[in-house]
Structure formats: structure tokens, C-alpha cells
């Protein structure tokens, strides 16, 4: 699915980015992000495609590219909704994300997939139960907590408690 979307719209996105001060590397990055965004959105329960898939993909690609251009020109829009969590963002900055990412990658397969499916892909607990052969959604919920707890413990062991504050 992802590959199909990628290949199918590569030329279209490439032409757009190359015409808008982009290069070949940017094309790959933007298209990958686009395809993944579409994937994530499509998995949402309330997702309804009201246009052609190519139009939708192109719209996302354009938005992502314009954001990228704005970053390059050091112009940042302040999202008012993010202001609320400013404190927690500051805390996040104290943690080395790459290390946590590595920890996630080193988790056992089931836990990693379960957490990925839930937090990234946005799958429902029922769907996750089907995919990972769990008895039911409740089992997934408790297993998710256990996996998350396990990961959190690993992270806390790695960092001092003060680092998170």
C-alpha cells in the first residue's frame, strides 16, 4: 500500500518540489512523510476520503513542503495549542530522543509492534488483538500497559529522575 502510493505519485510530487526550489533528496523525504501521513490518517476511524487519492496526497505533500520551506527560512508559526504543553516540551528536550528510540527498537517484537500499532498507526485495540493474536481488546489494553511500563522502566534506568523534570 505504502509502496504503491509512493511509486504512483512520485513523479507528480517530484515535479512539484523541483519546481518549488527543491531537490531530489527533498522529494524522497517529503514523499515518504506524505505517504506515512496518509497511512496514519487513513487508519483513523473517522477518516473519509472526499477527493481523488492523488489530490489528497498532493495536498499533503504541498503542505509538508511549504512547512519545510518555512523552516528553511527560519520562519516558524507558533501553534497556540502547543503552548499549553510548553512545560512538558521543555522536559522532553532534556531527554535524548534517539536513545529512547533505540530502546523502542530493541524491545521485544510483540511489545514494539503493539505500541507502534497503537500510538503510531492508530489501530483500535480490537484490530491490534486480531493482528497480534490476542484474546480480545482488554487483553491488548493490559498488555499495552505492561509493555509501556517495561519501556518506561528501561528509560528511567537510563536517565535519572531529575532529567525528566
Amino acid at each position: 500500500m505504502l509502496i504503491y502510493m509512493y511509486k504512483q505519485h512520485y513523479t507528480m510530487v517530484k515535479n512539484f518540489i523541483l519546481k518549488n526550489s527543491g531537490d531530489e533528496d527533498a522529494v524522497d523525504d517529503i514523499l515518504q512523510d506524505t505517504v506515512i501521513a496518509v497511512w496514519k490518517n487513513a487508519n483513523k476511524t473517522n477518516f473519509l476520503l472526499r477527493s481523488k487519492l492523488s489530490t489528497y496526497i498532493m495536498a499533503i505533500a504541498k503542505n509538508l513542503w511549504y512547512k519545510e520551506l518555512k523552516k528553511k527560512t527560519k520562519f516558524k508559526l507558533v501553534d497556540e495549542t502547543q503552548k499549553m504543553d510548553l512545560g512538558s516540551e521543555e522536559m522532553n528536550l532534556n531527554m535524548d530522543q534517539s536513545i529512547i528510540v533505540k530502546m523502542v527498537q530493541e524491545m521485544d517484537e510483540t511489545c514494539r509492534r503493539l505500541l507502534s500499532y497503537f500510538y503510531f498507526d492508530g489501530f483500535s485495540t480490537k484490530l491490534i488483538a486480531d493482528k497480534l493474536n490476542f484474546a480480545n481488546a482488554d487483553t491488548v489494553k493490559s498488555k499495552k500497559y505492561q509493555c509501556f511500563k517495561k519501556l518506561q522502566s528501561s528509560v528511567l534506568n537510563k536517565y535519572k529522575k531529575e532529567d525528566l523534570i
Partner: protein
């Protein structure tokens, strides 16, 4: 920072935006007052972010691997047009060469050429021409254009050399190798180039270049005879005379009433018919290759097809119409340019007059 399962799920709901109503208000109040919860939210958010990053990375790696350069081939529109044009030209060239193969004078296939070369080297093993070529004069033909393909020597049996079925034979210039496909092609070409013979000629066409033998057969003239034509004069009033006229298919148009002539009047008409020698007619007897029975009459010459030349013919002319009696049956002869089937006279009154 040790959160229980319930708090974990509440934080999850808060971060995902699904926590609403009183629950959200209560959680916001706790978040303001309780440092431990703030820590728990921050930690959970970091971990979720890491999970998302890991998954994002995983998917991107997957896409990169699956679409590494060889997977995605991008062709600019200009190149697309150029490639399409080139493909079209190549296609046209292939089609053209298929339709007009190089060296059309020699229609032999590579297999045939190889076989012929092989045979040329073994001339002393070839059989006499008479045993190879057999022309059959009785081959079927059409009325107007008879095209007969001579029998092709499919297999020349030799003790030392085995010849494949599609091989043809060549010996000096006497033996002509013939290929069925080649003959068909040549025939088509000949027909197209107006080298078609007329229906009444027997043409044997041999192409030395292509080494094919084409025999075109036509109808055969058997003999020509001259016959007297007797004019039958009738002294009838016009209305009665009409009833005697039988023209096919015009006769069918006459009403039944008009056809019916009283018996007495018929007898009178018959009695008053006076046959007189008026002229002579030239009759040619033809043998049609498709066993066609009919005639062609232009007013002076009558060509009869499929009629035995030993048959005695009697010609009578009535009201400028010619009738012929063949073996006791009267036929109406109509002037025509094309071939026509013999139409038998069925009108009893007319038959009575003609039989006088």
C-alpha cells in the same frame, strides 16, 4: 514516578485528546497541582514520541528499501514522447518488412533455401521431371477465372537423401519447385496487376523468376454450328397475341385472366401460325469447367453451355423473340450480355404454337 494502570490510561486519553468533560477538568486540575502527574505526563509523552519516531523510521526504511532507484523509474514527458515515437517507428518498420519482405523475388523460406541448396548438390539423385511434376487438366475451376495450382511434389523419395516436406525440387530449369504459399501470393499479385485472363481462354502462366507454375483454365469451345431460324407469324388480335408471349419472369406478372385463352381461340391461333425460314443463327457449344448449363445470346451468336453438341436444335422466332427446342423442350432465349440459365416455356398456348 510510578503510575498505576488507571493513571496511565487517563494520561493516554489526555495526550490523544480523547479525554473530555469532567474527567478532563479534573485531570487538568491535578496536572496543575500535582508534580508527580506532570512528570508522568512528560515521561509518557517522551516515550510515545520515541515510539512514533521509531515506527516512522521503520516505515521510511521499508519504503526506501522497496523503492530504491531500480524500483522507481521516472521518465520525463519529453522522453516519453521520444520513446513512444521511436517505438512507433520500429513497429511500422516491422510491419512494413513483414508485408514486403526483402528479396521478394525469392519467396523461399530459409528452410526451403537450405533444402534446395542441399538438393542442388545432389542432382544425380533427383528423379526425372515426369515423375515429379504432374499437371492435371481436370482440376476444378470457376466460370470466369480458373486458377489451378499444380500438384506440388511434397516428398521426393530418395535412398540416400531425405527431404523434408516443405522442400521443393530444382533440377536445371526443367523442374520447377512450387510452394503452395508462394503460389497463393503470386496469384494474388497477378490478379491485382490485371493479368487475369478472360473466362474463355486457357492460360498457362509460368513465372520463371519465382519458379512457380500457374495454370489458368477457362471454358472450352467444343464446336460451332449454324442453324436455321423459323419465324412464326401469328394472325391474332393484340389481346390474344399477348397471351402467347411468355417472358420470364415477365410472364408471372400477367394476370390469370389474360393468360386464359379459350381453347377454340388457341386452336385458331395454332392453325394460323405459319413457320417460315427467316435467318440463320450461329451456335457455339461450350464446355464449362464448372459444369454450368446456360446460354449467352447477343442476337447473332448463341453460346450454349453444358448442352450436348449432338443434340438436335430447332430455333423459332415469334414476335421478335427467339425460342429453341432442345430434346423436345422449348426454351426462351433472351438477349443478354451475361450468362443466363435456360428458361423453359410453360405457356400451353405458346407451346402449341411452337410445336407446330
Amino acid at each position: 514516578m510510578n503510575v498505576d494502570e488507571k493513571t496511565y490510561h487517563i494520561i493516554n486519553a489526555y495526550l490523544s485528546g480523547t479525554l473530555q468533560g469532567r474527567g478532563l477538568d479534573k485531570f487538568k486540575a491535578d496536572l496543575k497541582n500535582n508534580t508527580e502527574i506532570r512528570e508522568a505526563v512528560a515521561a509518557q509523552q517522551s516515550i510515545i514520541q520515541a515510539i512514533e519516531t521509531a515506527r516512522d523510521k521503520e516505515l521510511k526504511d521499508f519504503i526506501s528499501k522497496s523503492t530504491s532507484n531500480k524500483g522507481v523509474i521516472t521518465i520525463s514527458p519529453k522522453w516519453r514522447v521520444a520513446m513512444a515515437s521511436a517505438a512507433a517507428i520500429v513497429l511500422l518498420a516491422v510491419v512494413f518488412l513483414k508485408l514486403n519482405p526483402l528479396g521478394t523475388n525469392d519467396s523461399s523460406t530459409p528452410t526451403e533455401i537450405a533444402s534446395i541448396n542441399q538438393l542442388e548438390n545432389a542432382e544425380d539423385l533427383l528423379l526425372p521431371i515426369d515423375s515429379v511434376m504432374q499437371k492435371d487438366d481436370s482440376l476444378a475451376d470457376t466460370q470466369t477465372l480458373a486458377i489451378v495450382t499444380p500438384q506440388v511434389p511434397k516428398l521426393i523419395e530418395e535412398p540416400a537423401l531425405e527431404v523434408t516436406e516443405d522442400a521443393s525440387v530444382e533440377q536445371d530449369e526443367e523442374i520447377e519447385e512450387v510452394d503452395n504459399d508462394g503460389i497463393e501470393d503470386d496469384l494474388n499479385a497477378e490478379i491485382a496487376s490485371d493479368t487475369v485472363t478472360t473466362a474463355n481462354e486457357l492460360i498457362s502462366s509460368t513465372s520463371k523468376d519465382t519458379k512457380t507454375d500457374i495454370v489458368v483454365l477457362g471454358d472450352k469451345l467444343l464446336t460451332t454450328k449454324s442453324y436455321p431460324v423459323f419465324a412464326v407469324a401469328l394472325d391474332l388480335n393484340p389481346s390474344r397475341a399477348e397471351s402467347l408471349i411468355e417472358v420470364q419472369p415477365e410472364a408471372t406478372r400477367l394476370s390469370r385472366k389474360e393468360r386464359k385463352v379459350p381453347e377454340q381461340a388457341e386452336d385458331e391461333a395454332a392453325a394460323k401460325a405459319k413457320p417460315q425460314l427467316s435467318r440463320a443463327i450461329k451456335v457455339q457449344y461450350w464446355n464449362s469447367v464448372v459444369n454450368y448449363i446456360g446460354y449467352q445470346y447477343n442476337g447473332a451468336l448463341l453460346k450454349l453451355y453444358g448442352i450436348d453438341q449432338n443434340q438436335v436444335l430447332e430455333f423459332k422466332e415469334l414476335d421478335n423473340r427467339l425460342y429453341v427446342r432442345i430434346g423436345g423442350t422449348h426454351f426462351y432465349l433472351e438477349r443478354n450480355q451475361n450468362h443466363k440459365r435456360l428458361a423453359e416455356v410453360s405457356n400451353p398456348t405458346l407451346l402449341k404454337v411452337l410445336n407446330e
